[in-house]
């Protein structure tokens, strides 16, 4: 187990290095941030001073080396625009994004699993068919369009919910969170729902497919033959088996929820990392872009590792690190 985790972490650091090289080269190729950073009225001496200050006068490989040395000590460079450490800038915005993503996931799980179970147990009922039709909509409607629709309906027409910002926040363990205040909740609801919709549909479909498959298995028949109540057959025998793929997917999708949050954050002006990233790309603020991607990829890696560990807890047949088991992605 320990050996497995160490091997995974080593692989992951290689991924991180490769990614930072790519992003470095990519942003360099897009354009020169100097044009955006220096006052067009500045003279050549002033211009050269700024370039030297940002280290942009050196060749790219040397810039990367400087970045790499800094990264080893946890310093991912300073924002060109704000002249403060990029990591700090992102970490300051990250709680808002994570709160949004977590809420979206909670909505998707809380509604997705029961609805999927229902649709799987009663595939021919009206409710079952309605749930499935709804999930197809959730899959196919574009996120930004649904987001705009939500704003039109709840903010503009009905005036029930605010359409932008986080609302009142409270400080919990050093993080600002919205979900503990009524005002914050009303701000959180629409973006979280918007972000959840796709994952909700995914979880419904996964749960339904898993349920239908499990119901055909002999162990369900045997469980019924023992005289167990239907609630136990479904709630323990079926659910425990279908939780294995569901937990895997939920875990893997959590990373993409954070990534997708960029769209939702833009629509609802949610002050998270997504919005920061868009701004940084516009101003070619390379240190922030690189730092953002490094942090997101690290998050992905940690999540995948946690999922694998969870997987082995849920499925007694999986032992981590033994060859190419299902647990090793």
């Amino acid at each position: 187990m320990t050996e497995y985790i160490i091997r995974r972490l080593l692989q992951s650091s290689l991924v991180l290095v490769a990614m930072s090289v790519l992003v470095f080269a990519g942003v360099y190729a897009i354009g020169n941030p100097i044009e955006l950073l220096v006052n067009p009225m500045a003279d050549d001496a002033e211009r050269a001073r700024v370039i030297a200050n940002l280290g942009l006068d050196k060749p790219l490989w040397e810039q990367y080396l400087t970045f790499f040395k800094g990264a080893l000590t946890g310093d991912l460079g300073k924002s060109f625009v704000f002249n403060v450490p990029a990591v700090g800038l992102i970490l300051q915005k990250l709680p808002a994004t994570i709160e949004l993503a977590l809420c979206a996931m909670v909505i998707a799980i809380l509604f997705g699993i029961p609805l999927g179970l229902w649709a799987g147990l009663k595939p021919d009922s009206i409710a079952g068919k309605t749930i499935m039709a709804g999930s197809i909509l959730g899959f196919s409607l574009p996120t930004f369009w649904v987001g705009l629709l939500l704003i039109m309906l709840f903010s503009v027409q009905l005036g029930w919910l605010p359409s932008n910002g986080r609302g009142d926040t409270v400080n919990v363990l050093g993080f600002e969170v919205s979900f503990l205040t009524a005002d914050g909740l009303s701000h959180l609801f629409m973006p979280a729902l918007n972000l959840a919709l796709f994952k909700l549909s995914l979880i419904i479909r996964l749960t339904r497919a898993g349920t239908r498959e499990a119901l055909l298995q002999d162990y369900v028949k045997f469980a019924r033959a023992k005289g167990l109540r239907a609630s136990r057959v479904v709630g323990v025998h079926v659910l425990k088996n279908i939780m294995i793929p569901i937990v895997t997917v939920i875990g893997l999708e959590f990373g993409s929820v954070i990534a997708f949050a960029i769209v939702t954050e833009s629509i609802f002006a949610w002050p998270g990392t997504g919005k920061l990233l868009i701004d940084s790309i516009t101003s070619l603020d390379r240190p922030v872009i690189v730092a953002y991607l490094m942090i997101i990829v690290t998050l992905f890696i940690v999540i995948n590792l946690v999922v694998d560990i969870l997987y082995s807890v849920l499925d007694p047949r999986v032992r981590l690190g033994q060859g190419a088991g299902q647990g090793a992605h």
Partner: protein, 321 residues
């Protein structure tokens, strides 16, 4: 003595888009305490559906459309789900064919055993655990305390089937229905399990219905035999009567396709033709297309006799003509 289980006129049909599948039709038999009935027939003849009907486990589009199932005189047909739950696993238990599939792969053995006790008895966990341990010892599982904490994949096929049998025995049922429980196991293990099941049922007075398509298994195990063909029982009687003096042309054909019954060196005789589709059964004897003895009389389905050795045939073998 009143039989423990009396099944009479049982019919189970499946209402599919293609038509009504008469999977079980007019099946009757009776079982005394400690008695073993071998239910024999080829694939698709309705053996499993007979078992599921007795467990109340027929799911739509299937339905028990006629007949009566009496357990110690208590009529089970017409029971709602809640009452069936009190019967299942408690007074009638069932074991399935594939031990790799019947135990839930993600639940520990103790969970799967305890829930079977606790579903029917309001006893503390310790007592349920004690009964589980006892049942495991009974079916020959060594070091039960350790094994209870294991998961199914840590057991061999034979051991898993023993666990399933132990679960079936937990609540000391009146009847156990074993649906080909040894087919998936190798021959030595099969022999051991057969022997132990026989012993356990004799000792505890549990009646056993042993479903199989293998006549040679029945010979050493059962007291009575019922041979099924296309959903109906075509011949029933004691093992000696049915196997040694089979009277139905189908049973006789089955006997001749068993290696032990054939003189060495001669090819095994096969019954010519194919099993009829259960969808297209007409009014005639279902075996007619394959029967060498068929006459015009066989255009109508023969009734099964009322004797102890009963046969559903207009022209049974060995009858005075």
């Amino acid at each position: 003595m009143r039989p423990v289980l009396e099944v009479s006129g049982l019919s189970t049909h499946f209402f599919t888009r293609a038509g009504v599948v008469k999977a079980v039709e007019d099946v009757s038999f009776a079982l005394n305490a400690g008695e073993i009935l071998g239910l024999v027939g080829e694939s698709g003849s309705g053996k499993s559906m007979t078992g599921y009907s007795i467990m109340g486990l027929i799911d739509p589009p299937g339905k028990v459309v006629a007949g009566s199932i009496r357990l110690k005189g208590e009529e089970l047909i017409g029971y709602d789900e809640a009452r069936w739950q009190k019967i299942r696993g408690n007074r009638i238990a069932m074991i399935f064919q594939d031990p790799m599939m019947t135990l839930n792969p993600v639940l520990r053995i103790d969970t799967q055993m305890l829930e079977a006790v606790l579903a029917h008895h309001d006893v503390p966990r310790e007592e349920a655990l004690r009964r589980s341990r006892e049942a495991m010892v009974k079916v020959g599982i060594p070091s039960p305390d350790e094994r209870l904490l294991a998961y199914p994949h840590q057991f061999s096929g034979g051991m898993r089937q023993r666990v399933a049998i132990a679960i079936a025995l937990l609540n000391k049922p009146d009847v156990i229905i074993a649906d080909e429980p040894t087919t998936a196991l190798d021959v030595t293990i099969q022999g051991q399990i057969l022997f132990e099941m026989q012993k356990l049922c004799r000792e505890s007075g549990t009646a056993l219905i042993w479903i199989t398509h293998d006549l040679s298994v029945i010979a050493g195990l059962a007291d009575k035999v019922a041979v099924m063909y296309a959903g109906r029982i075509v011949e029933t009687g004691t093992v000696d009567e049915v196997l040694d003096c089979s009277r139905h042309p189908y049973t006789r054909g089955l006997m001749c396709s068993v290696p032990a019954c054939n003189p060495r060196g001669q090819p095994l005789k096969q019954i010519p033709g194919m099993t009829p589709s259960l969808l297209s059964l007409g009014a005639e004897c279902a075996f007619r297309e394959r029967c060498a003895r068929a006459t015009a009389q066989c255009d109508t389905m023969p009734a099964i006799g009322q004797d102890a050795h009963a046969v559903r045939c207009h022209h049974p073998l060995g009858a005075p003509t």
